[in-house]
């Protein structure tokens, strides 16, 4: 209880409270703007956090995350253009509702479902994180190697459009992670005597390049062809009657559970959970008078509750295992490290106030979505009019400040530019930027735990299968990696049987 009171004092201190408000509104605005994703919004906030106290920095990033997860629905409903990938499913019924003149109700449902999903996931996180931390304390190198591989195999199979290209992206990320001093025997690797390479490639610079700069490049060639026509001059949120909303309680709860579970799975994210939740809602309520795809309110509730419930879910493996649950949490994990917090099972023991602070920040942000959501929605006409030729260069300048101020190094800015181009070409040829980043982040963990376990086994790798938990994780790795193949074989079998 003392810890909760302490966390309350920190989150509701004037500075932190202002940061939550600003972060939530900023997240909604960025989420609503097509071409500015949640991860980009968090990256743009990173330079502000470098000099902040840890809790203030964390609550700001969490607030942006919550706001961004909800913000994407605004443009999805109003202009049929999801502001973020998480809001794709919201378009299916949100836009038809707007066309029927129910824009306010659609926005109200999106905001309500997002808030519900966030609070639900915050409660799950509060319970699950300490339990997982206790279990994780018994983990050794073999288990960490398996968990690292699990994260990488999930991103190559579940989250990727093209498994082979995602696999190569992961391998390239892992290769980049080996640059610098080998932490086991101190050998210099791929540094070619350059001091700036001895510490390895800073993955924040890579992220700024691959996410922010590449996104700007992509938008420069796309924004002229985008239809950003707002159908209604003035938009405002209208909340549905409580009794009507209560009829949809099962959709709220079921979608939030899906969101939390998918969020916890390494490398899966809000875009997947929202589609699964939408699919489940349309299956369960196939006989509703209003068909799905024609403006069914459940078609907004399900994806929005799920993608926001993914926020708390994704934070659990990030904090407790140091394995990010999504590209967005990869950025948050990087921010944790910059501000001196080391994700892992000991984090909650060393920083007892942190978990409660994140919980309170999530709840506070969720409640703010109503207020901030209303304000931002009213201003949405103005926000949408912000021309990309002004926004793009601003993102570049902010990215540059973020990369430069990491270590006051010119080389980090060069790395940002290089990976901006890499990210652009990855996008063109359907490689995976999140897979590259996750490979880079998890590379050290995967290599070190692999080698440490082999050293413990005196040159033998048998320890990986002798330890039961490690064996289970490795089986899961194999299943997730080969799942697309198994799925297609099963599909062919069914077709033949038919």
């Amino acid at each position: 209880m003392d810890v909760l009171i302490q966390a309350f004092g920190q989150v509701f201190s004037p500075l932190s409270a202002v940061l939550v408000v600003v972060g939530t509104v900023f997240g909604i605005v960025c989420g609503a703007l097509p071409g500015v994703s949640t991860s980009l919004a968090i990256i743009l906030c990173l330079p502000f956090t470098y000099t902040m106290a840890p809790v203030s920095a964390v609550v700001l990033l969490i607030a942006v995350y919550v706001g961004g997860a909800c913000g994407g629905s605004i443009s999805a409903i109003l202009i049929k253009t999801p502001g973020t990938p998480e809001a794709v499913a919201t378009t299916f019924d949100g836009y038809p509702m707007a066309q029927k003149g129910q824009t306010g109700i659609a926005l109200g449902l999106a905001v309500t479902a997002s808030s519900f999903g966030t609070i639900f996931s915050a409660l799950v996180m509060l319970v699950a994180a300490p339990l997982l931390a206790k279990v994780a304390l018994s983990f050794q190198s073999a288990e960490y190697f398996g968990l690292g591989l699990l994260g990488l195999s999930c991103i190559t199979s579940i989250a990727a459009k093209d498994q082979m290209k995602a696999l190569l992206s992961v391998i390239l990320g892992l290769m980049i992670s080996t640059i610098g001093i080998d932490s086991i025997n101190g050998a210099e690797r791929f540094a070619f005597g350059q001091p700036f390479l001895l510490n390895g490639i800073n993955y924040i610079s890579v992220m700024i390049g691959a996410f922010a700069i590449a996104e700007v490049f992509k938008n420069i060639e796309e924004f002229r062809h985008r239809d950003n026509t707002l159908r209604e001059a003035k938009v405002s949120i209208k909340l549905m009657k409580f009794a009507e909303m209560l009829k949809m309680w099962a959709t709220f709860v079921k979608s939030s559970i899906i969101g939390v579970i998918v969020g916890i799975i390494p490398a899966a994210g809000g875009s997947i959970s929202s589609l699964i939740a939408y699919g489940e809602a349309s299956r369960s309520h196939a006989h509703d008078p209003i068909k799905f795809g024609e403006g069914n309110p459940r078609g907004i509730v399900a994806p929005e509750a799920a993608n926001n419930a993914g926020v708390g879910g994704a934070l659990v493996p990030t904090m407790v295992l140091g394995i990010p649950g999504s590209p967005v949490t990869a950025v948050i994990m990087a921010a944790f490290i910059i501000i001196g917090l080391r994700p892992g099972p000991l984090l909650l023991r060393e920083q007892p106030v942190l978990l409660d602070s994140i919980f309170l920040a999530l709840v506070f942000s969720a409640l703010l979505l109503f207020v901030g959501g209303r304000f931002v929605t009213r201003q949405f006409g103005h926000i949408l009019k912000l021309p990309y030729p002004l926004l793009g260069p601003l993102i570049v300048a902010l990215g540059l400040v973020g990369a430069y101020s990491l270590q006051n190094s010119f080389y980090d800015v060069i790395i940002m530019l290089v990976f901006g181009l890499v990210g652009y070409f990855f996008d063109k040829f359907h490689y995976s930027n999140p897979a590259l980043i996750l490979g880079l982040i998890l590379g050290e963990l995967v290599e070190n735990s692999l080698r440490k376990q082999i050293i413990i086994g005196d040159g033998s790798a048998i320890g990986f299968v002798e330890r039961p938990v490690s064996l289970v994780i490795l089986v899961m790795v194999a299943l997730t990696f080969f799942w697309p193949l198994i799925g297609s074989l099963l599909g062919k079998g069914k077709v033949r049987a038919a």
Binding site: L168, L172, A187, I220, P389, F410, V413, R451, I455
Partner: protein, 161 residues
């Protein structure tokens, strides 16, 4: 297809270079550390080449066209993007020489204009406002050591932040 094949060739060359370097890394003194410093990179390099070969074969079979506007300088999108990549490169190169304030004051209007913004007065006001806000927030409020430039420009920057 040609653009993707060139991309794959460049990636392949990179992996081969990485692999050659990895083979020359020293063995570990610890007999239990059978992989040593080079073992993991060698595994990655070999795996990378195999996966790249599979992808390349598939690209050759599918013969799908991928449009890369950056290389199409005949189109407005391509010209605008290529110019912005060059602008960003120049922005970064002059950053340490003329400092953050001056380079940003030069970059923002040129980049905005090259992407297609046609209102000079608004662009000028926006540039000054954004540069002032970025310098004020990061340089003064958060004490982020922004690049100051060299010589006289460096001295002048101390007046601002």
């Amino acid at each position: 297809m040609a653009a993707e094949l060139i991309f794959n060739c460049l990636v392949g060359l990179g992996i081969v270079f990485f692999l050659v370097q990895a083979f020359s890394l020293p063995q570990s003194d610890n007999p239990g550390d059978v992989l040593g410093a080079g073992g993991f990179p060698v595994i990655l390099g070999i795996l990378g080449l195999i996966v790249l070969a599979v992808i390349t074969v598939r690209v050759l079979r599918q013969k799908s066209k991928v449009k890369v506007p950056m290389f199409d300088l005949g189109s407005l999108d391509g010209r605008s993007l290529a110019l912005n990549v060059v602008l960003l490169f120049v922005y970064i190169m002059v950053l340490d020489v003329i400092g953050f304030v001056l380079s940003t004051l030069l970059y923002l209007p040129v980049a905005g204009w090259s992407i297609g913004y046609q209102k000079p007065l608004r662009l000028a006001l926006y540039t000054v406002a954004v540069t002032a806000v970025l310098t004020g927030v990061f340089g003064i409020l958060f004490l982020v050591p922004l690049p100051r430039g060299v010589g006289l420009l460096r001295e002048l920057s101390y007046i601002i932040f």
